[in-house]
């Protein structure tokens, strides 16, 4: 008996797991994940809502000249600072307001004091609201583009400590690591407020 076992051991090769099918299995899994992967990144307009106020607490006062009021009604018509206006004017007017630096007594004292307030009615189409919000953000984007290109704030020309100049704000933004200070936004902040909806009407 012992002789037979010995012979078997001699004849046999090393035991191996067949790996030829491994690649096929891996390919199959790979194709499954390729198909189910969604690569598209979510894009949108970022906002921060104001914190909830206590009923007895009053919202912080903002001086009338610093406030830039935009009203949008149910028909999608605009009222900028109490005057009817078109959406095409909005970007220019916002830029005028925030880069005023106190020279016009009706407009903002300084960019960090300026507040853009957007108020909508109950029946305002969401589409128009986004269009208005987009125009306001684009006004700031254009100012930030300018800062990124020149390293200086508009009108006043204060220098912003950037490592180099960029072709636009987005390029600068892409170089930021999470946790880095956004120096352009620190130098020229945006205050956009979504007005409290009317409760009783």
């Amino acid at each position: 008996m012992a002789g037979l076992l010995d012979k078997r051991r001699e004849d046999r090769d090393e035991a191996e797991i067949p790996t030829a099918g491994m690649a096929d299995i891996a390919f199959l899994l790979l194709i499954f994940f390729l198909v189910t992967t969604t690569i598209n990144v979510d894009t949108g307009i970022g906002m921060t809502l104001p914190p909830e106020l206590n009923p007895d607490q009053k919202p912080p006062p903002v001086k009338e000249r610093n406030l830039f009021k935009i009203l949008v009604n149910a028909q999608g018509e605009l009222l900028i600072e109490e005057d009817p206006a078109s959406i095409g004017q909005l970007r220019r007017r916002v830029k005028e307001h925030v880069t005023n630096y106190g020279s016009n007594p009706d407009l903002a004292v300084s960019p960090d004091k300026a507040v853009i307030s957007i108020k909508t009615g109950a029946q305002t189409p969401y589409n128009t609201y986004i269009e208005v919000l987009d125009e306001v953000w684009m006004a700031y984007r254009e100012i930030w583009d300018q800062i990124a290109q020149t390293g200086r704030t508009p009108v006043k020309g204060e220098s912003v400590d950037l490592a180099k100049t960029y072709s636009n704000y987005q390029e600068y933004y892409n170089t930021l690591e999470p946790g880095d200070d956004n120096k352009i936004r620190d130098a020229f902040g945006a205050q956009i407020s979504i007005a409290e909806p009317d409760t009783g009407e």
């Binding site: 390919f27 894009t43 979504i194």
Partner: protein, 153 residues
């Protein structure tokens, strides 16, 4: 001096495929890690508005989506409804609890509002008030880039 003999090898020349599984596994692991499975079916129609001043949200795990739009009912359009995760919200006051619980799990939560462009602001304002009560203040109005897809940057 020994001579190299041509054609002395009796085996056919072959590509070495031994490392092929390794390469494929590497690709596989990359896709497994980067995949976020499509988690839900959406019961409301959300045709997103278009905008220019867009920001990207890279960290998908921070996002909690709130869908607002008319219910999908074949060809006809239903009433405007709110969907969070896979459930339609019947009572709008429930949003604050749902979002509050989500915020406890993920303090850096971003509420991504996927609102149909034909919705009215009333419902959006209502949801925003609920979000404020929940303390979920970071929001994002989900929108697409202006112009037909593929144009521009």
């Amino acid at each position: 001096m020994a001579k190299f003999q041509r054609g002395s090898s009796d085996t056919e020349p072959e590509f070495t495929t031994a490392s092929l599984p390794d390469i494929v596994f590497m690709l596989l692991i990359f896709f497994m890690v980067s995949t976020v499975l499509r988690e839900q079916d959406i019961k409301v129609r959300t045709q997103l508005p278009q905008a220019e001043a867009l920001t990207k949200i890279d960290q998908k795990r921070l996002i909690s989506k709130i869908h607002i739009g008319p219910l999908k009912q074949g060809d006809s359009q239903g009433e405007t409804a709110i969907q969070i995760d896979d459930a339609l919200i019947e009572n709008r006051k429930a949003i604050r609890n749902i979002m509050y619980n989500k915020l406890q799990q993920q303090p850096k939560l971003i509420a991504s509002l996927k609102v149909d462009q034909e919705s009215e602001m009333e419902i959006v304002n209502e949801v925003q008030q609920e979000l404020r009560k929940a303390g979920a203040l970071r929001i994002n109005y989900s929108s697409n880039r202006e112009g037909p897809p593929g144009s521009g940057n």
